[in-house]
Symmetry: C6
Subunit: 90 residues, 6 copies
């Protein structure tokens, strides 16, 4: 399997690491979606080949520890997003 690794221009290859270039969201639900997106965009920046990422998904999505590890990253991203939004306190 050929893996086209682009170690120099990988940042440029991704459209945006932070969707809409802001951490501010209207609701916790949107904040959670942003956290998931942030986590995924990082993976896309490190491994920019979408085809490779797709081949990894079945194994990873059917392994409990892999899912927990992914959920862990989302939890950390969400902590940042929630703080940015003052926890959406009324």
């Amino acid at each position: 399997m050929t893996v086209p690794v682009r170690s120099i221009d990988y940042v440029e290859a991704t459209m945006a690491l932070v969707p809409d270039n802001t951490l501010i969201t209207q609701t916790p639900e949107q904040g959670r979606e942003l956290a998931i997106m942030l986590a995924r965009k990082t993976i896309g920046a490190i491994q920019p080949d979408a085809e490779v990422r797709e081949t990894l998904r079945p194994g990873y999505a059917t392994n409990a520890d892999s899912l927990t590890m992914a959920g862990h990253v989302v939890a950390i991203e969400f902590a940042t997003v929630a703080a940015a939004n003052n926890y959406w306190r009324a």
Copy 2:
């Protein structure tokens, strides 16, 4: 085993990532329950096939390190929820 992975519409497939769309709870106990729910909802977003998740559970729930890893994620989610609620100080 066929794994119906939906990589595009998986967010839509989950009802809500944040139950009641708020981080505010009345008590630490409820905050802890929310932390567990947040952790579980993320897994549901990454692996939306409930049947697959169910097949993973027996192995994961009987492995000490897997349980510790899951508890780790809950601890991080709870840190966010607790901060959102100013730690439920009287």
Copy 3:
């Protein structure tokens, strides 16, 4: 080995996730004990079968990395408890 997994009512099965329903303690020592309890209660919520948990303990308690992983979770729980108590500053 039959593992009676209760995926729906597992929260109800645990008496309390947060002992005394508060993060406030009188001393750092008590805060540390609470952190350990929080970590353990989560495991109990995920794997409510005490007998299964007991069978996991010997292997886990004699493995250095497993112990470190458990200590890691306690450290995170304690960070939250300590912040809740303003670090018990005089």
Copy 4:
């Protein structure tokens, strides 16, 4: 190898989880020592048999990842101790 696990009275078996029952130290150096002690005391609470802990040490102290994992826990404990001390700013 017989492992005398005391799952009920293990907290009582440890003298103190937080030495001197305070997070306040005079210097960062002392704060770092406290962080190491906190991490070790937790392990002692989970595995109270000193002889077992001693048997685990050679393998763990000669494994790079195990050392990194232990250093990770100390880093988290130190974050809490440092915050408690307002980072020992003059």
Copy 5:
């Protein structure tokens, strides 16, 4: 394979651990790029041989858990960068 490890002067061998010697960025997007750079610079400080790092990349970039672990580190670096920038609130 010969690995030229420089354990004493490795810090000097790296140009800069923090690009532009600041955590302040104009936008969240730039903050995210900085977080990725910080994570990469640390790896460069620990393993200063670029050729060795390059040999590690194919295996790591095609392993889901390795990618998640790397994304985890970026999430933590970003938390620091975001706090430094007061989350780029308007």
Copy 6:
């Protein structure tokens, strides 16, 4: 291989866990260097035998996940150092 483990006096064996006994640095770059030093000093405290640490380095410095794990610890140490320095805001 004989591993001279000193479990009692290991703290004394290390000169200092916190170089210069302060978390305050003049620049982010220096803060990053301190974070790396803090992480290394902890490993030195846990495994005080420099020769053993040196034997571990080749395997660890050529393993992507080991490098990521080490970078993870540095990220956490840096979060503390950065907070101590109010993120070196002008």
